[in-house]
Amino acid sequence: MPTRLLLLTCPAAVAVLMLAGCGSAPPADPVAAAAAPGTRGSEEQLKALAARPTPHLADGRPDFNATWDHLGGIEFVRVRTEVAADGSVCVFGCAPPAGAPGGEGRGARRGGGPPPPMGPGTPTYKPEFLAKVKDLSDRQVQVDTNLQCAAPGVPRIGPPGKIIQNAREVVFLYDDVNGGFFRIIPTDGRPHPTDTEPSYLGDAVGRYEGDVLIVETRNLNEETWLTDNGAFHTADLKVTERFTRVGDTIRYEAVADDPAVLAEPWALRPLTLWVSDQELAEPARCEDRDLPHMVDGSFHSNPR
């Protein structure tokens, strides 16, 4: 995307470009990543990408500067694009590619109608909050702001689509279906700010431990949920994300801890991200036209 267009279309891009200019190492080679053997996101490709040398910045920290792909991150969401000789394209509803990890998805429901309020891949609540979770779950279509184009919250938003890194901070960029979002994460020892209002994506600080970037986020507003199915949290939620660079992949792990309501910290299923040759673009406007037409409370369970 031309720089001018980027500046015109994405306010966050200004800060990002400034940060990018401070980077001390070239980004990972997305073309080479795309040329790795195997279907995009297949075990074969991920293995080849992970076997590559782990790049580091001049100061020894792991280099996370790249656009990162994870096919939406949910194992059962495996968009598959196959173009036939006549130009036909199958975007969705295609057979899972051979060797693709988890094509059928763990925890994915196979039927319609409302899912159980909680289950595999979802947080465990203290007994006294189960009724509230069920109530919210039953009314998800009406009350879940994630269905109304709001920022999804952390960790629900998932790993970033692009990471920009310099000596002082890391910037996460997201081309989410709800909009273009960013998180600016100091890594130079600055503490959490004390003068910010709770927000959808909270405020975060980061630190490095070897080839791992650890990001701790708090000050999240109570509108967001941890995941689907009424998984509410309080303002005391703390989320710890770990990004481990392995070759041209990242192992992404996240734990949400909210002791007031959760029976135990909730660890999301780890994801593997890989260097992508598909640059982020400004998402199209989010305008939900569907919710008024929902005839029942059915929705999907999206195990994380």
Binding site: G73, T81, V89, G105, D175, P283, S298, N302
Partner: protein, 130 residues
């Protein structure tokens, strides 16, 4: 054609399980997947928005009366990652296309969800289970 065969075996149940993250909510919660319809017409407009793109299809009946269907489909990022542009989805101006879709459950007329679009030259864009 191989692609169509690959896709044809997929039932709605796969869509039920797989669409939500990128489309927010249940397709069967809004559309009656048991009543598929086949529409033939021209694409008058495409609203390139999230969480669902809307394709507006003008359908002319035997009397010449034109009805425009609003047909929802996948989000823009999914299209982009599949290298389908708004122009490609729109087809050529005036091009007759056939859309396999399912109608709204709440009784709203001419509202549906796209399974696939077949363009005049025979190529197909499969967007959901058929």
């Amino acid at each position: 054609m191989l692609l169509q065969r690959l896709c044809a075996g997929f039932a709605w149940v796969m869509l039920v399980a797989a669409v939500p993250v990128l489309t927010h909510h249940s397709v069967p919660g809004q559309f009656d997947v048991s009543k598929p319809v086949v529409l033939t017409g021209t694409i008058a407009k495409v609203d390139w928005i999230n969480p669902h793109i809307y394709v507006h299809l003008s359908v002319k009946d035997a009397r010449g009366t034109v009805t425009t269907w609003a047909l929802a489909t996948l989000p823009t990022a999914m299209m982009r990652r599949s290298k389908i542009t708004k122009a490609a989805l729109s087809g050529k101006p005036g091009e007759m296309v056939t859309v396999n879709a399912v109608p709204a459950r709440d009784g709203t007329k001419n509202l549906g969800w796209i399974n696939k679009i077949t363009y005049a030259d025979g190529h197909v864009v499969q967007l959901a289970g058929s």
